[in-house]
């Protein structure tokens, strides 16, 4: 508050009776409060502050020691080691065991020796080739036999010659299979079987060229080919021979 404002208030208080009364009341109140404050200060005087400080510090330090001891108690690991030597020994055993296992596995004692390179004699390999060729040929003959038999049966029953869709698909598959079979038959030195399979292949080429709907003349032509060359009989005999020669 500035000096000027203070003077203004002073003038107002002097001119106003009620205001002066209010100010006196507040001054009296504050004086009383301050005197109460002085009494509080008096209360301070009667206390031995050095002793009080020592008491306070002692209380704090004993609380500190107590909480420190409680923290110590709460450490279960140390408690176990100090008072339970059996458990401590067990723990040590686990540690030593784990360490030993680590070194054993690390050194690779338990690892199996790598297998030696596979060796097979040329005789064995040629027998494998022969066996594979035999099986493949048997399969080829079997399927061919079905197709040719179907063709013969259809003709016999109805007079017309019509190849079923499945038989036509089988014919195409057998043609592609024969291409794969050729090198195997040569490798296995199965000349006789190769000759018969070639004749069957020729028939299938004929069939594939004339499509599914054969004219009676075409059908008779193929039929006569089968009969002339005794294809079905050859298939039967060759199958028998191959089955008997199983390795």
């Amino acid at each position: 508050m500035s000096e000027r404002e203070r003077e203004d208030i002073q003038r107002l208080v002097e001119s106003c009776q009620n205001c002066a009364g209010e100010v006196r009341a507040v001054e009296k109140l504050l004086a009383s409060a301050d005197s109460l404050g002085r009494d509080v200060q008096t209360a301070l005087a009667g206390i031995d502050w050095d002793l009080q400080a020592e008491k306070t510090v002692a209380a704090v330090w004993s609380e500190r020691a107590r909480s420190g001891a409680e923290r110590e108690k709460r450490r279960p690991g140390l408690w176990v080691f100090r008072l339970r030597p059996v458990l401590a020994g067990l723990f040590l055993g686990v540690l030593v065991g784990a360490g030993a296992m680590f070194f054993v596995f690390r050194s690779g004692w338990t690892r199996k020796a790598p297998a030696q390179a596979f060796f097979a004699s040329s005789e064995f390999l040629s027998r494998v080739d022969q066996e594979m060729g035999r099986r493949e040929t048997l399969d080829y003959l079997e399927k061919s036999q079905y197709v040719l038999l179907e063709l013969a049966q259809t003709q016999t029953e109805s007079g017309s010659c019509r190849l079923s869709e499945a038989a036509a698909r089988e014919t195409r598959e057998l043609l592609s299979k024969k291409k794969y079979l050729n090198p195997q038959l040569e490798k296995a030195r199965m000349a006789k079987a190769k000759a018969i399979c070639d004749q069957i292949e020729m028939l299938f080429y004929e069939l594939a060229q004339v499509s599914e709907n054969l004219t009676p003349a075409q059908c008779r032509g193929i039929q006569s080919l089968i009969e002339e060359k005794d294809i079905l009989l050859k298939i039967k005999l060759l199958k028998k021979e191959l089955q008997e020669s199983e390795a």
Binding site: G21, G37, A53, E54
Partner: protein
């Protein structure tokens, strides 16, 4: 080269660090420096010497537990008095409810009010007695500010720091406390209503 003398704030920071490291003497120095200020605040709130001394001890215990939480930029005295204020209020709520029940059974004259026996002037003594009693009627913050200002002799700025409020709010609450007390004590103050 002239050695720089540490400021009081730096001194207290060093003492606090040492105390946190377990230096008993350093902690005692802090207690010696501040125990009377803590006592005044506690006494102002509790208006009982023994209770206030208990609060002093509890305040320094709490201080020791919170030493690691002290922020170095903070005013240590304000922080400590804030702890003391909270401890005093807790103490008051815990113990004075029971005490009040007991006191309500006694006559007003029997109640031991702070320093009421030191009056030589009976009129002044009566006013102080009534003032002391009417302080109880004030709202908590008004009462705290009034006692801190007049009993502890703290500045508005210091009270603001202790209570964590602005200086303007402290002044406003102090004004309200004075106005309320004046209204309640108007006959004793010679004001005609």
């Amino acid at each position: 080269m002239e050695e720089r003398r540490p400021t009081p704030d730096e001194d207290i920071r060093i003492l606090l660090e040492k105390a946190a490291d377990g230096d008993r003497q350093a902690f005692k120095s802090i207690v010696v420096l501040y125990q009377q200020k803590v006592f005044l605040l506690a006494f102002s709130i509790l208006r009982n010497r023994e209770d206030a001394l208990d609060v002093v001890q509890e305040t320094f215990m709490r201080l020791y537990q919170k030493l690691d939480q002290y922020e170095k930029d903070r005013n240590f005295q304000a922080w400590l008095l804030q702890i003391a204020k909270n401890m005093s209020i807790d103490f008051y709520r815990k113990h004075h409810a029971r005490r009040r029940e007991l006191e309500s059974e006694r006559s007003i004259e029997e109640l031991p009010l702070a320093a009421e026996d030191h009056r030589s002037n009976p009129e002044s003594s009566e006013l102080s007695r009534l003032l002391s009693r009417n302080l109880e009627r004030l709202a908590e913050r008004q009462r705290l500010i009034f006692v801190m200002k007049h009993f502890n002799g703290l500045e508005y700025r210091e009270i603001a720091q202790v209570l964590g409020i602005s200086v303007g709010t402290v002044k406003s609450l102090h004004f309200k406390a004075v106005r309320n007390l004046k209204n309640w004590l108007s006959p004793q103050l010679g004001i005609q209503t």
